[in-house]
């Protein structure tokens, strides 16, 4: 095999109308996905910008309106959010299902954190084309169409035996043609991606990693197509076999796996968390303050001796029962989260049988748009909410007179910067 072989075969293959059309389709679709993905991510950034402005205006107004730590803590919302990573344009992931923005205040967190500001469910049902979809689902189909009749078409044209005997080496015919088509498809798909990376400021390491992962994925499907194409059946039968394999691994195994996993892992219903928290918080109104305070002191012993109340309503008691309500619901919330994590982990094993799902998990992992990234954000919100409590408790329990200056030290949510790994 030499350079002349490569050039001759490349020119021959690319001159075929069907091949050129398929490559063009791949290029157009990849471009469309990169374009709409970039618009989507830009909209997410703009939303965050607007929220930040609105949030600070709102907080300013609340701060001027109230002059008491209790009221301030009650009425002040704090924006928490997870900005999309530069790579998010290529893997939109589950950000349309899991929340990535909240406004929390010092009330019981379990009542706030499960709210999701979900976009249009009917669009979510149709799904979106992102680069991940183009690669994981669509590119194997293109490969199947490009490669299944590699030999069958030559056989049908009567050139097969002639080509085989005149080939310079064994590799300079079928493997070479397979490789050329695969690389051509890779280029058609990756060029729009590279443009998207430049626009979105993706780091060079990520660009290389993703390009390499995509190449490996195409290589995997090319090898399968190559092996199947060797069988001496007519082209439609070969394509049916390949399509069957694609259908099975891409759609059927994941769908059946999901049914199995749902049956295998049961956790608490989400609604039960809210119910438990609500009961705990509401019952506290009818309980003697001491009962709430005793429960509170178990986790906050540093306020021992400062929990007496003189009125039937005091803010420190109010926030203490919010805390106690959260603590009551916490085991359920942990179990709920555990179920989600168990299911996601089990899905990882099923993904081993589904290359498309495996690729999607890998890309969304790199783009921080998968379920674990969403959980990480939820943990951040929990940590921030805990900081807020740590900030207000001394004022409430020590009975410190209000001073607006002290609010300067109030915790501020710092989003996780997804710029590099």
């Amino acid at each position: 095999m030499n350079f002349l072989d490569v050039r001759r075969e490349t020119v021959f293959l690319l001159r075929k109308k069907s091949i050129a059309l398929l490559l063009l389709a791949g290029f157009l679709l990849a471009s469309f996905s990169v374009w709409t993905g970039s618009v989507d991510v830009a909209q997410q950034h703009q939303t965050i910008e607007r929220l930040l402005v609105g949030d600070s205006v709102d907080r300013e107004e609340v701060t001027h309106k109230h002059h008491d730590y209790g009221y301030i803590a009650y009425y002040t919302f704090h924006l928490t959010y997870a900005p999309p990573s530069p790579l998010a344009f290529a893997a939109l992931g589950v950000r349309d299902i899991y929340p990535w923005k909240h406004r929390v205040r010092m009330l019981a967190l379990e009542g706030q954190i499960h709210e999701s500001d979900t976009p249009n469910p009917e669009l979510a049902l149709a799904g979106k084309i992102d680069f991940t979809f183009v690669i994981a689902v669509f590119s194997p189909l293109l490969l199947i169409l490009l490669l299944h009749d590699l030999r069958a078409s030559e056989r049908a044209a009567g050139r097969h035996d002639f080509l085989v005997v005149t080939a310079r080496t064994r590799n300079s015919l079928w493997p070479l043609r397979t490789a050329i088509l695969m690389v051509a498809l890779w280029l058609a798909l990756i060029v729009p991606f590279l443009l998207g990376c430049a626009v979105n400021g993706v780091g060079i390491v990520d660009v290389f990693m993703i390009s390499a992962i995509v190449l490996v994925y195409l290589l995997f499907w090319s090898v399968i197509c190559y092996l199947v194409a060797r069988l001496a059946f007519p082209a439609p039968v070969l394509a049916s076999l390949l399509l069957g394999g694609w259908l099975l691994t891409t759609f059927i195994i994941p769908a059946v796996g999901d049914v199995v996993i749902e049956e295998a892992y049961h956790g608490p219903e989400g609604g039960n968390i809210l119910m438990t928290q609500r009961e705990a918080v509401n019952d506290a109104w009818d309980l003697p303050h001491q009962v709430t305070m005793d429960a509170f002191l178990e986790t906050h012993p540093q306020w021992q001796g400062k929990t007496q109340t003189t009125s039937l309503f005091e803010w420190k008691w109010y926030f203490a029962f919010q805390q106690v309500g959260d603590e009551k619901a916490l085991p359920l919330a942990i179990a709920y989260q555990q179920t989600a994590e168990d299911r996601y982990r089990a899905a990882g094993y099923i993904a081993l049988l589904s290359p498309a799902t495996l690729l999607k998990r890998a890309l969304t992992h790199w783009a921080h748009t998968d379920a674990p990234a969403a959980w990480h954000y939820e943990q951040q919100v929990r940590a921030f909410h805990a900081e807020l409590r740590q900030f207000y408790y001394p004022f409430l329990f020590n009975g410190t007179p209000y001073s607006e200056a002290s609010l300067a030290d109030r915790p501020v949510f710092t989003p996780y910067k997804n710029t590099e790994r």
């Binding site: 069907s18 679709l29 469309f32 618009v39 989507d40 939303t47 607007r50 929220l51 709102d58 589950v94 299902i97 923005k101 499960h114 999701s116 500001d117 976009p119 249009n120 469910p121 009917e122 669009l123 979510a124 049902l125 149709a126 799904g127 979106k128 084309i129 979809f133 189909l141 169409l145 069958a152 078409s153 049908a156 007519p234 082209a235 439609p236 394509a239 049916s240 399509l243 259908l247 759609f251 994941p254 769908a255 059946v256 999901d258 049914v259 996993i261 749902e262 956790g267 219903e269 989400g270 609604g271 809210l274 609500r278 509401n282 009818d286 039937l312 299911r343 996601y344 799902t357 998968d370």
Partner: protein
């Protein structure tokens, strides 16, 4: 003539019986259809039971609350659960993407929480094993695999010319092949037919259920037409197969997602969080209903004083705080509803754009027809949200009425002074029987049928176009 048609069909069936590929495809499709109907029906029936149970429990818990200050019950709140409609067990539609419980309380419109998707394995990113998905996406591909060669095979084998010479017109051929494909299609649709019978037993309305079935029959006919057409036009088995797969990829995988991307980019729908700012701002201007001394309520106060001809709120025969609570809830609800309607309109606009793509892809058309007839589409979800808001407003206002009439302003103002004063500012638990049994029902059957007409028209026109072209192409065979 009709005998010849049947002979052609029978011959095609005999060919499939000898072909292992065709056999395995039909068996696979049939099994998938049965499995999807069984799995989805089981899981949807389970969640119907569960949500109805949760709904009953939620009402019982509310009504079992002890004597309390009514405003406490406003914040205690109430839960509503949405049960899927009977046909939802064949097409769950957007059910997995929307929250299925909603918490109702004073001064706030909460979104529906806990969509099933949040606890899912993540494996269903492409599809869930539902009858809708199997029928809409998978069966067309399987029809292609068994049918791509119906005409090209005869052409490649040279039998087409032979038959023509014998006086078999191309239309008779096409009709026979069409009947053969329709037979396979009906076999694959059989589990869906049984599923529809099951939902009728579960209480599904007859008209939407029949239309539901009919829409899938038309959809199947469109695909049979596409297969016949491409096989007629193509010169060889390979090109027929390749073109059909390209058509399937475009219609079932690509166009629906292009529709969704396009709708999302064309109509921007800001989330609830953003509109909340505007609500909070208006709220501050309207005054906080917890604070009867808020200057915003001065006009209300002056009106009441004039009406009852007294000169202080203490002298009013009703509790001024309760009146303020009622008034501010009503004002606030107006604002909240404005924003909620705005958001629903944006979502409906997005959906309307996506649905127009049904003219291009029968898959989008069947998806919409099916969801609309099943009552699991966006309109029905919005209906749930609106009904929930009505329930919320009614129960909050009846509690606020108790707040105004069940105690004096003095009792209310002093409720934190002592245990006895607190007790004086409560109303009896007998008053908590204000909830009606909530049971979400989708739009009435005729309305659902009417809503599906656009999608149905798209399907019928696709069918007409495909068969029109076949008629044209048939003359030139």
């Amino acid at each position: 003539m009709s005998n010849t048609v049947l002979t052609v069909a029978r011959d095609e069936w005999r060919y499939w019986q000898r072909s292992r590929l065709a056999q395995s495809v039909v068996i696979l499709a049939f099994l998938l259809a049965i499995a999807s109907v069984w799995v989805t029906h089981t899981s949807v029936s389970h969640s119907i039971d569960q949500r109805q149970h949760q709904q009953a429990e939620s009402e019982a818990v509310f009504e079992a609350q002890p004597d309390r200050h009514p405003h406490r019950m406003v914040h205690y709140g109430h839960y509503l659960f949405r049960s899927p409609p009977p046909l939802g067990s064949l097409d769950p539609g957007i059910d997995a993407f929307t929250g299925n419980a909603i918490f109702l309380e004073g001064h706030r419109q909460n979104g529906a929480t806990f969509a099933d998707r949040k606890q899912a394995s993540g494996l269903t990113w492409l599809a869930k094993l539902t009858p809708a998905f199997v029928m809409q996406v998978l069966t067309p591909l399987l029809m292609i695999v068994i049918g791509f060669g119906v005409m090209t095979r005869e052409r490649e084998a040279g039998t087409l010319e032979f038959l023509k010479v014998q006086g078999v017109s191309p239309f008779v051929m096409l009709a026979g092949k069409g009947i053969a494909l329709a037979g396979a299609g009906m076999l694959i649709l059989l589990p869906l037919f049984l599923g529809v019978c099951l939902t009728l037993l579960d209480g599904a309305a007859v008209v939407p259920a029949l239309a539901f079935l009919a829409s899938y029959v038309i959809y199947m006919a469109v695909w049979i037409g596409i297969v016949l057409l491409v096989s007629t036009l193509a010169s060889s088995n390979s090109s027929s197969f390749g073109s059909l797969v390209v058509v399937w990829i475009a219609l079932c995988l690509i166009v629906p997602r292009i529709a969704s991307n396009t709708a999302g980019v064309l109509v921007h729908s800001p989330g609830k969080l953003e509109t909340d700012f505007a609500v909070l701002k208006q709220l501050r201007e309207m005054g906080d209903g917890h604070n009867a001394n808020d200057p915003a309520f001065k006009a209300l106060k002056d009106n009441l004083l004039a009406k009852y001809k007294v000169d202080s709120v203490e002298a009013l025969p009703i509790n001024f705080r309760g009146i303020v609570a009622q008034q501010s809830e009503a004002d606030l609800t107006k604002v909240l509803n404005d924003f909620a309607e705005q958001q629903m309109t944006q979502q409906a606009d997005q959906a309307a754009i996506a649905r127009q793509f049904g003219w291009l892809s029968p898959m989008i058309a069947i998806q919409n027809a099916s969801m609309k007839l099943a009552g699991t589409d966006l309109e029905n979800y919005h209906r749930f949200l609106r009904e929930a808001e009505n329930v919320r407003f009614d129960f909050v206002q009846s509690l606020n009425k108790l707040h105004a009439e069940g105690m004096t302003l003095e009792q209310d103002a002093n409720k934190y002074k002592s245990q006895a004063a607190k007790k004086a500012a409560t109303v009896s638990a007998d008053n908590w029987q204000i909830l009606n049994d909530f049971h979400f029902t989708p739009l009435p059957p005729t309305q659902r049928f009417a809503n599906s007409l656009l999608a149905m028209t798209q399907l019928v026109i696709s069918l007409a176009v495909v068969f029109g072209v076949i008629f044209y192409a048939g003359r030139r065979v």
